[in-house]
Symmetry: C2
Subunit: 235 residues, 2 copies
C-alpha cells in the first residue's frame, strides 16, 4: 500500500515535514497534488464527510486519513521506528515536534503578522516589526533550547540520543528554512551553537535524506512557502 | 499518586485545557504554582536537565514529565478514557485538538500580533488590524468547521459521537474564551451555528465540569491570559 500525501504542489510548506519522514523511512508514497489533476483531488478530499481536515497536509494510510503535521508524524513515527515506542520517549519526541510546530508558525507570521489572506506587501510595516522580534528574541530562544538538548548533560548525535527521530528531521528542516529566510541571523546563531550545525549535517548526510535532497522531489524554497527570503526582514 | 500541574497561577491560559481534562476525569492533582512558593517550583522545574519544557504548562505524572498541551491531553486521554484507545479515533481526536491549538494561538495573537514580550498597548494598531481579520474570517472558518463535525452527516452530542473527549472539553473552553473576548462576534456565530451552543452547554452541564466551574479552582478570565476583553477589538 502506498501512502497518499495531500499537500500543495509548489511549496515545501508544512508538507515538507511529512515528506522528510516518508523519505527517511523509505516509504512508498504518492504526492497526490503534484500529479496531473492532483489539486482537484486535494480539494475534493478536503470536502469529505468523515475525518475532513481543516487544512492540508493530510495523509491517507489505507483506511486512515490523518491530518495535522505533528499527528501524521506521531503515526509515521510509530509505524516506521522514527520515535521510541513507549513512554516517556514517545511523548518526549512528540513534545519536541509540537515545540517545533510553534516555531514554524512564528516563522510564517514574520511575513504574515496580520492575515494569511493578505499579501506580504499589504502588511510590510508589521512584518518588519514582527521579524525584528523574531530575529532578536525568538530564534535565539528556540535555538538555545534545542542546542541545550543536544549538549546537556552530555553531547549527543540526535535530540534524544543516538537514534534519529522525526523531531530531528523536522529540526533539520527548520534550520534549512531559517538559513534560507534569515541567513544573517542564522550565521550568528550557528556560530554560537555549533551543535545545531552538527545535527543539520548529520541529518543531511543520512542516505535516504541525501538522495531526497538531490532529487526533483525536493521543491526549492521560494516566496510562497513558510520560509521566505525577504532581505529587509533579516537585519 | 497525584498529578502535578505546572502552570502560571493567575491565568486560565493554556493550562486551562489541562485543568478541564483533569477535572472531568476526577483526577487527583496539585496545581503547583498556586501554592505558596509554587512559582519558584515552576521556574526550577523549567531548568531541569531531563525533559525540560520549552514553556509551561507541563505535567508530572509519577516519573513522567510531559509538556505541550496537546501532548498532555494525548496522555490523559489514554489514561482516563477521554479519547478512543485505537486508531483512527485516537488520531482523529488528537487532530482536532491540534486544530483547536492553532485557533488558540491565533486568538492570542489578536492582542499580541508583533511580540509576546511587548505590552498590548505597544502593538495596538496592529492588534486592531489582526483582530478585524480574526473576527471576519478566522473565527467563522474554524467555527464552521467544528459545527460541520457536530452536524454532518447527522447531528451528534460531541465531536466524535456520543462520548465526550478531551477535544470537546477544549472546544468548550475556546467558545467560553471567545465569548469573553469577542462577545459581539460570538453572538452572531452561535446564532448561525446553534450546534456549537449545544456542545458548550452539554460540556458545562457535566457534573465534574459544573462543579469545577462553580469552584474557586476556576480562575476568572482576565486581561493577562490568552482570551482578553478589549472592546475595541470586537467590532
Amino acid at each position: 500500500m502506498a501512502y497518499e500525501l495531500f499537500y500543495w504542489p509548489s511549496i515545501q510548506g508544512r508538507g515538507e515535514f511529512v515528506r522528510l519522514a516518508l523519505e527517511e523511512a523509505g516509504a512508498d508514497y504518492v504526492d497526490v497534488a503534484r500529479r496531473d489533476g492532483g489539486v482537484d483531488l486535494l480539494m475534493a478530499a478536503l470536502d469529505v464527510e468523515e475525518y475532513p481536515a481543516f487544512a492540508p497536509p493530510f495523509l491517507k494510510a489505507g483506511e486512515l486519513v490523518i491530518g495535522q503535521v505533528a499527528n501524521i508524524l506521531l503515526y509515521l513515527g510509530e509505524q516506521h521506528g522514527l520515535a521510541p515506542r513507549t513512554d516517556p520517549g514517545r511523548l518526549w519526541v512528540h513534545q519536541l515536534q509540537l515545540t517545533i510546530a510553534d516555531l514554524v508558525t512564528e516563522a510564517h507570521d514574520t511575513h504574515h503578522p496580520i492575515a494569511s489572506a493578505l499579501y506580504y506587501e499589504d502588511q510590510k510595516p508589521e512584518a518588519l516589526r514582527r521579524s525584528a522580534d523574531f530575529v532578536e528574541s525568538r530564534i535565539p530562544k528556540f535555538m538555545a533550547y534545542f542546542a541545550r538538548l543536544l549538549s546537556n548533560p552530555e553531547s549527543r548525535d540526535y535530540l534524544t540520543g543516538d537514534k534519529v527521530t522525526y523531531a530531528d528531521l523536522s529540526l533539520f528542516q527548520v534550520i534549512e528554512g531559517l538559513r534560507y529566510a534569515f541567513p544573517n541571523a542564522m550565521k550568528k546563531i550557528e556560530q554560537e551553537h555549533p551543535v545545531l550545525t552538527g545535527l543539520r549535517d548529520r541529518v543531511a548526510a543520512r542516505p535516504n535524506i541525501a538522495a531526497y535532497l538531490a532529487s526533483e522531489r525536493r521543491i526549492p524554497f521560494n516566496e510562497e512557502g513558510i520560509f521566505r527570503r525577504y532581505p529587509e526582514l533579516d537585519q
